[in-house]
Symmetry: C2
Subunit: 532 residues, 2 copies
């Protein structure tokens, strides 16, 4: 059962329907169920799951969502269209499929732009109104709550405001709980949205919602402008996924409502889960989370400028619009060649190494970071490699648990078309020369296994480490230089994760370097004494 | 010499100063000069180049920009701070460096939030006002135009509006041409910005500008809200680069002003270059252009939904808020497993292959695309691979210019620490068996060269092809499956570019597949007859 939040204001999520239109997203039913669980736990009021009947995947989703998910906060919503012209709602198989989905709430999309009625729907303006009335009434008579999405509302309103408002009134009078004004083409700006919503609200008396697309880069602001004008239902998608540029992003919209409007729209404690939920959904749709997304991006509270870094020591609140903990994010100090001494000192403290007394050391570290970043390294995303660098400078020499003599990787096609990956490493550890060979499902995996095979007898601790993420970036060579490859590796020991970086003239060489740092850091972290 | 646009409205770009604070950006002097040329050609009125004196790179930039760039539209701006407390502006070396930069315009950053004055600057409120007056007057006396950035203005205004306005008045009365209200922490929403700008304008009479950060996802809307309230100077960065989440994005701001406000803020013809300029700057800063950026992203006018695709045949203007040609972008139909028949047909037409009469063929192509996308392929970004797939289905068999028997790649460390990359391919072409070996700067490059070495004698046309871009994506394995690797390759023959995709269990295998498609397509495009 749901413990639906106050019905006076709706947070309506359409990630699974409109969000799935984003270029590059392709959701399985299992993906949709996972996302629905995240959204329900986060506490949105409504989850639009798809268009049952329009494709078998969505039909299956509704059947499984009802059977498998015990919704705590959200109500499940089925999306569909008004009945076809010249028929009756109760005879339309598409309308039937909406009822068959078992969803307690149905969103009907209706045309509200006169030219779309004539050119795309190819029916009369009056018949379109009748389609709205008939379909809404029928679904209401079947016990469903109905919302109506007025497609292309704002564009239609510009050319023919009377007709656009007639569609709103038809839906409202037929029993729709909310009539949603959609900026389907996304061309609106906040001032326009605010003016139109206010007028339509005054003229029709319908409860209004807003559905904004981000084509002008103003979807979040347009959504808030509609709320300012009296809309009490906001349609959004997680991370702003959606067709073309995308939809209004759920996370900055709810954060603005909770933190800037002081309006409770989520269950207690939900906002502090926002960063995690955003990243989890990105993971499921298999898109890299946007590093620069408001509130939840890893860069959203990252400070780079030397100017700021020195002042942040005085009072972090002077330099952040909110406390990042409120949305589950954290402040980060970035290490980069733009950073001055203050950043390096703060970063040292973050890592538990106080170097602020040793000015010469700080200067050496700044210098070393500059050199390495010129070569293509980045320490902003590779804390463990930075810590190794910092310790090497502080201790006068790098910690080494092993020394590599050489390595070799071979990739070849087998006669059956599959691939063989084999790697050999030759190394020294604790005074012993080790030669190890291993196969893997790729050349980097083979190298990783060969390194472990060779070292695990001497450092049994390595058996507990796992590579959890692997990223490759080709750094374009400009001005006649060759391109280089940068690899970032994340490794886990079950208690924590760390990231390391490697740079090389090819992906294998770069990966090898990141792996060396990853294992060195893992052993350091475990308190193992270095012994080449 | 500049042909400065109407001075009544300023488009002020700070990509080179504030934009460079973005995590992951690290600009050389050469990069900054290249970006300045792009921005000048695009037609912004002012280019803030950096902080001369604060770091040697920026000092060098100003010297070289004056010597090497013949600005057509923009004026060069140096950024710096008001003089230190308790000194005189003419004695402050930092102020001296601003004059020495030779920039005709200087932006001074001034504190306008009382707590920042006390806690970060550690001086009195009155001395801060005197620092503003003294520095502005002195620079004016030296013949420079002065803009003043009131840092943390909106946060300061909330706590102490009188003091914040005193700073504006001090700058204005001392001779600053524009006083820029900065939302430095980025926490504002448009309605707040509009109200504050309107009040400050009425109370001080100063010419006002706006500098918005994007921490609420509203920087573009905040900028436009300030313009609505009377600001006549907008500070932006290309692609919204900037610290934390970023700054107000130059491109949607100028597009909104030109297309939605019908306000001329760029030279004639500039807007149609916007997509190219955005991508070129991303290239220079070495960040992948955001595919979902408003107006200029490759997805910004891409249509995926079957629903839309069928209606777009009727009238594209019904489904786009502007004609993409106006900003130099193009409408695209996406091929994906969500696409229905209509999308595939339109895509065929785009490629010059009319398949709309053959319903069975269209169904087979839809089916094949679905299968391949499940395996990890993506045709949205790989038109050439899609065309090969489409032709294979239409012609009953794939075009083949060669058949691969096997290939092998070896990567190893040399004794001197450098890497050797060697590849061998065994293939058949025109009835001949070919064995070729080549070295390269990486394993993929070695394979590419071996393939060319083997085939160029038989297909001399291949000598003119060049790999121009190479992207690797690890597709995370979920639900217990192994991860797979997807590679996208762009190839050029000097007249055009095409993109191909390969998927495999490792990066080399995936690259190999994308290369095979790339060369097959290159030969097809050149009109070479297939002969295995």
């Amino acid at each position: 059962m749901t413990d639906a939040l106050d019905d006076n204001f709706h947070v309506f999520d359409t990630t699974l329907r409109d969000g799935a239109q984003r270029e590059g997203i392709n959701l399985t039913v299992a993906d949709k169920l996972t996302i629905a669980r995240h959204l329900d736990a986060f506490g949105v009021g409504f989850i639009e799951g798809g268009w049952p009947g329009a494709n078998p995947r969505d039909t299956e989703f509704f059947a499984r969502a009802r059977a498998e998910i015990d919704f705590q906060h959200a109500q499940l919503v089925a999306f569909g269209a008004t009945r076809r012209a010249g028929t009756r709602a109760q005879d339309d198989p598409q309308v039937r499929a909406l009822l068959d989905s078992g969803a307690p709430v149905i969103t009907l999309v209706a045309k509200s732009h006169d030219r779309h009625v004539e050119l795309a729907l190819r029916t009369t303006l009056e018949e379109n109104l009748e389609m709205v009335r008939d379909t809404v009434s029928y679904l209401r008579s079947q016990g469903r709550r109905v919302f109506v999405d007025c497609e292309h509302f704002f564009d239609g309103y510009r050319g023919n405001p009377d007709y656009a408002k007639q569609v709103v009134s038809a839906a409202h009078e037929a029993g729709a709980d909310v009539v949603v004004l959609c900026d389907t083409n996304g061309g609106m700006l906040p001032a326009q949205v605010q003016a139109v919503v206010a007028t339509v609200l005054a003229d029709t008396g319908a409860r209004l919602g807003i559905h904004a697309q981000d084509d002008t880069g103003c979807a979040v602001a347009n959504t808030l402008a509609a709320v300012d004008a009296g809309a009490t239902h906001v349609q959004c998608t997680a991370n702003g996924y959606g067709e073309r540029v995308g939809n209004a992003n759920l996370f900055p919209v709810v954060a603005a409502l909770e933190l800037k409007y002081a309006k409770t729209v989520l269950p207690a404690g939900a906002l502090a889960e926002m960063t995690r939920v955003s990243h989890a959904i990105a993971e499921v749709v298999n898109l890299t989370p946007s590093t620069h997304q408001p509130y939840v991006g890893v860069s959203a509270f990252a400070h780079k400028a030397g100017l700021h870094a020195s002042a942040i020591k005085v009072d972090p609140d002077l330099y952040q619009h909110i406390d990042p903990e409120r949305v589950g994010n954290t402040m980060r100090m970035l290490v980069s060649d733009m950073a001055g001494r203050a950043s390096i000192e703060l970063k040292g403290k973050e890592l538990g190494i106080d170097i602020s007394d040793d000015r010469a050391l700080v200067a050496r570290v700044v210098e070393r970071v500059k050199e390495r970043e010129l070569e293509g390294y980045t320490y902003e995303a590779a804390d463990a490699s930075f810590e190794l660098l910092l310790r090497a400078e502080a201790e006068g020499r790098a910690r080494r648990y092993f020394r590599v003599e050489s390595w070799r990787g071979i990739v070849e096609t087998r006669p059956d078309g599959t691939h063989a990956n084999e790697a050999t490493v030759k190394l020294w550890a604790k005074g012993e020369r080790i030669v190890a060979t291993a196969e893997g499902n790729g050349p980097v995996n083979a190298l990783d296994r060969a390194l472990r095979v060779g070292l695990e007898r001497i450092y049994p601790h390595l058996a507990g480490l796992e590579l959890v993420d692997y990223k490759v970036r080709i750094l374009e060579g400009r001005h006649g230089t060759e391109s280089t490859t940068r690899v970032l590796v994340s490794t886990s020991d079950g208690r924590g994760e760390w990231a390391t970086v490697g740079v090389g003239d090819n992906v294998i060489a770069a990966s090898w370097e990141a792996l060396e740092d990853a294992y060195t850091y893992g052993l350091l972290r475990a308190g193992v004494e270095p012994q080449e």
